[in-house]
């Protein structure tokens, strides 16, 4: 290919023209190179600054569990980064409106005051105002200078602050808009893509804070509420009750605690299952709630006598209401009555209607109270008092109830000391065969072991003075076990001595030991009896365990099993205090007893023909069922004689022999000479 020479200018002017074009091209090339470099520098700079901003916002979001705390910092960061005059935020509430968070940032508060005032504490319904438009459309909105003057509801305030552009952005959690951010600038907003990128990422971080806040609120709610009924639980109740107590005036009046227990709930649970029980609890909670609402509804808003109520479920079937700022104490009683009425209507469980009653204890705060816990304990006590009546109802705590409790608690504490320091001792009351013929005289057949408390200050204390407290405090189990072992030990020693002196096994006295219901119904009771028999070596057939009807009422099946078991080892069983209480004949029929003990009250009133008839009926019954009978509380010779005539085999009482200490009581067994020798 032939090379053509490159054409060159022939004259100077043409050369200059060419050189000028050359320079011009060089200039254009340089400008383009500069523009390219500048664009790169700008983008690098902007992305660095944006990354730093987002890093700060992310740090803030990570630090904060509280939206109201984070939002102020995020608004500040964005405004400073964008050089915007004012930023504020609106939370989207359950009503679907955007409500000002009262969080805002401006670097010039004085200058922006009109706009801050026009925006704070504002609520925008969907579609209204810029926040409302963002809320409705769920996408960012921009308002430029031209639109601002005509179509912006806060335009007067905006104009007075020199605002030229506004933008609003949604903060989203999934598809839900939870917040609207709004920014005002005194210059036009130019690079909308960059703004959108930055603010959207900031919004994502804010959404994380709201999500965490919600998760925490849900946890707190769950931690403070009963999952089944949705009512406050014990923790929240305690918190509110304590706060209410702290707020009390010096007189400490104005607070009441109602402790409410459902009567008959256990039976429903047992009969229909726990699901039914749950339905009852939920319905009960609902009715309580509406009763309280109705009681409070009577008062006007702003009434200076406004009172508050917190209803809580604190246990299985136990509810508590704390009434706060009560203008008069009668409200608590009225409310209790309304609650009882509300549960008179049966509750539908599946296809069945069931009924539950209420036992309500009320305690009112007063000067003596040092804590709300004391108040709660007193309300508890009043509730138990209501429940102990058997028919539910309302009992308000009183000083008398309180004294009773204080005394019992003091006694319980002393009893604990007594158990630890072994202050108990056993007395033995002889039991005699009354003899078929008057002239035969009474023959000693056994002893009833009777506990005495050898109190360091008060001396010997009778069981009637402390056994009820021991039973209430659960101490009876320890005391009863001690009695069982002590009595068997003593009797084993006596038997050994008597046998050594040549007494035949048939003549040895038996020991009758009282067993409290709590002790008897312990799952380990029969095993414990077995162990005591083995360890002491007392002949089982010379041990009689006395129980009252109480055990059978609490748990008939368990009672029968224990009785059968101990009888299988040869131990005798005795039904104590017969004739009082329920005296159900079915117990006699179903439970394996060897002996009936006629209650002392019938013996004491033997002059009354009615009592004599009852005694005769008991004797007939026992005879037919092949049970031996012991009459208790024989105090006169006449009573003894009458009982003998009526065919009562055995008896005990002051007339025959008082309870004595071990040495004195056992001396009665010895033949005259030996007794003297002892």
């Amino acid at each position: 290919m032939k090379q053509e020479p490159i054409p060159l200018p022939s004259d100077l002017a043409a050369t200059v023209e060419r050189l000028e074009r050359l320079v011009q091209r060089e200039r254009e090339g340089r400008l383009q190179a500069e523009a390219i470099a500048e664009r790169g520098l700008r983008e690098l700079y902007e992305s660095q600054v944006r990354l730093a901003l987002l890093q700060r916002i992310t740090d803030c979001a990570n630090r904060s569990n509280d939206f109201s705390e984070a939002i102020g910092e995020v608004l500040k960061e964005i405004c400073e980064h964008m050089n915007w005059a004012f930023g504020t935020a609106y939370r989207v509430e359950r009503s679907g409106k955007a409500v000002s968070c009262v969080a805002w940032f401006t670097s010039e508060p004085a200058r922006l005051f009109p706009l801050v005032e026009a925006s704070r504490e504002r609520t925008f319904p969907s579609g209204e105002g810029l926040p409302g438009r963002v809320l409705r459309d769920v996408h960012p909105h921009w308002i430029d200078e031209a639109e601002l003057a005509t179509d912006f509801c806060r335009r007067v305030a905006a104009a007075s602050c020199g605002i030229r552009a506004v933008c609003g952005f949604p903060v989203m959690i999934g598809d839900e808009i939870v917040c609207v951010l709004e920014f005002f600038a005194r210059t036009a907003m130019m690079d909308k893509d960059a703004i959108l990128l930055t603010v959207t990422q900031a919004a994502t971080q804010l959404a994380r804070v709201i999500e965490r806040e919600r998760a925490r609120a849900a946890l707190v709610h769950d931690a403070l509420h009963d999952a089944m009924t949705g009512l406050p639980n014990r923790t929240l109740l305690d918190e509110r009750a304590r706060a209410a107590f702290e707020r009390l005036p010096e007189s400490r009046e104005g607070l009441a605690v109602l402790v409410i227990d459902l009567d008959g709930f256990k039976a429903i649970n047992d009969k229909y299952g726990h699901h039914a029980g749950d339905i009852v609890l939920i319905e009960t909670a609902r009715r309580f709630d509406s009763v309280i609402a109705a009681c409070m509804g009577g008062r006007r808003r702003g009434d200076e006598h406004a009172w508050r109520a917190t209803l809580a479920r604190v246990g299985g079937d136990e509810f508590v209401i704390v009434l706060d700022s009560l203008p008069n104490p009668g409200i608590a009683m009225d409310l209790a009555g309304a609650l009882i009425d509300a549960l008179k209507g049966a509750i539908l469980v599946g296809d069945e209607y069931v009924n539950v009653g209420l036992s309500i204890g009320i305690a009112h705060s007063a000067a003596g109270y040092g804590s709300v816990e004391q108040l709660r304990q007193d309300a508890d006590l009043a509730m138990y008092e209501a429940k102990s009546g058997g028919h539910g109802g309302v009992v308000t705590f009183s000083e008398a109830l309180g004294n009773e409790r204080r005394n019992r608690m003091a006694l319980e504490s002393e009893l604990r000391d007594a158990i630890r320091e072994k202050q108990f001792t056993l007395f033995y009351q002889p039991i005699f065969a009354l003899g078929a013929l008057q002239d035969q005289g009474e023959r000693l057949r056994g002893f009833e072991a009777l506990i005495r408390w050898n109190h360091p200050e008060r001396g010997l204390v009778e069981p009637g003075r402390f056994i009820p407290a021991a039973e209430a405090g659960g101490l009876i189990v320890f005391i009863g076990d001690w009695v069982l072992r002590q009595a068997c030990n003593a009797m084993a020693r006596l038997h050994r001595d008597l046998t050594e002196r040549g007494m035949s096994a048939g003549e040895l006295p038996y020991i009758s030991i009282n067993i409290a219901p709590q002790q008897f119904l312990q799952p380990t009771f029969s095993a414990h009896v077995r162990r005591v028999l083995l360890e002491t070596g007392v002949p089982p057939e010379l041990v009689r365990l006395e129980v009252t009807e109480g055990v059978a009422i609490i748990d008939p099946d368990q009672t029968r099993q224990v009785l059968e078991q101990v009888r299988s080892w040869g131990v005798k069983t005795s039904l104590d205090d017969f004739g009082t209480g329920y005296s159900s004949l079915s117990y006699l029929q179903n439970l394996p007893f060897d002996t009936l003990k006629i209650d002392r009250s019938f013996i004491a009133s033997m002059d009354d023909p009615k009592s004599r008839k009852i005694i005769r009926a008991i004797l007939d019954l026992a005879s037919n069922l092949n049970l031996s009978v012991v009459a208790e509380g024989i105090e006169t010779r006449e009573q003894g004689a009458s009982l003998r005539e009526m065919g009562c085999e055995y008896g005990q009482g002051f007339h025959l022999g008082r309870p004595l200490d071990e040495a004195s009581a056992f001396a009665l067994v010895w033949p005259d000479g030996a007794a003297n020798a002892a």
Partner: protein
């Protein structure tokens, strides 16, 4: 001084006086004259170029700077269109100089020392512009404002209330946009 100022001056001179005039000016000032917008150059070089132009055109240095400022606006518009399109008026454009343009300049040229213009309301309704710079280029600012007014088709009356060139501690310019 950022290289872009030299480039603008070159463009303004070339546009008005031709390509060779710039070379002449450089020769008079005794400068090499290879400037790129990405670089920074001693302030003294600008002053020497202005002085050379002043001598060549028989104008005061202030007059040269004012001419340069006014001529530079259309050139800036070519290079940085986005700074202009977002404003509806020269007043708005001028007011944005501290808040928008300077930060933007700093984005491109790390360490660029931009003058700060303090705007304030004067009692007579005019806008006050206070300016303090060791470079004492208030006349350049004057020209920029006139150029902005030209661009947006606005009228502005500019009065120098005080000037560092006259020994005042600060340059104060009054702008009247109401005409």
């Amino acid at each position: 001084m950022k290289g872009v100022v030299f480039n603008l001056l070159e463009d303004a001179v070339v546009r008005e006086h031709g390509l060779l005039a710039w070379d002449g000016l450089l020769e008079m000032a005794g400068l090499e004259g290879a400037y790129t917008s990405l670089g920074s150059y001693p302030d003294s070089e600008v002053i020497r170029l202005v002085d050379a132009a002043s001598a060549a055109l028989g104008l005061s240095a202030g007059e040269v700077l004012r001419w340069f400022g006014r001529s530079a606006i259309p050139l800036l518009r070519e290079r940085y269109e986005m700074f202009f399109t977002s404003h509806q008026s020269a007043q708005s454009f001028v007011a944005s100089i501290n808040d928008i343009i300077h930060p933007e300049v700093r984005k491109l040229y790390a360490g660029a020392g931009c003058p700060h213009f303090h705007f304030h309301d004067l009692d007579d309704g005019r806008i006050g512009l206070a300016y303090q710079s060791p470079r004492r280029m208030c006349r350049l600012a004057h020209g920029f404002i006139e150029g902005a007014a030209d661009h947006y088709g606005d009228q502005v009356e500019i009065e120098h209330l005080s000037c560092m060139l006259d020994g005042h501690p600060v340059c104060r310019i009054a702008l009247d946009w109401s005409r």
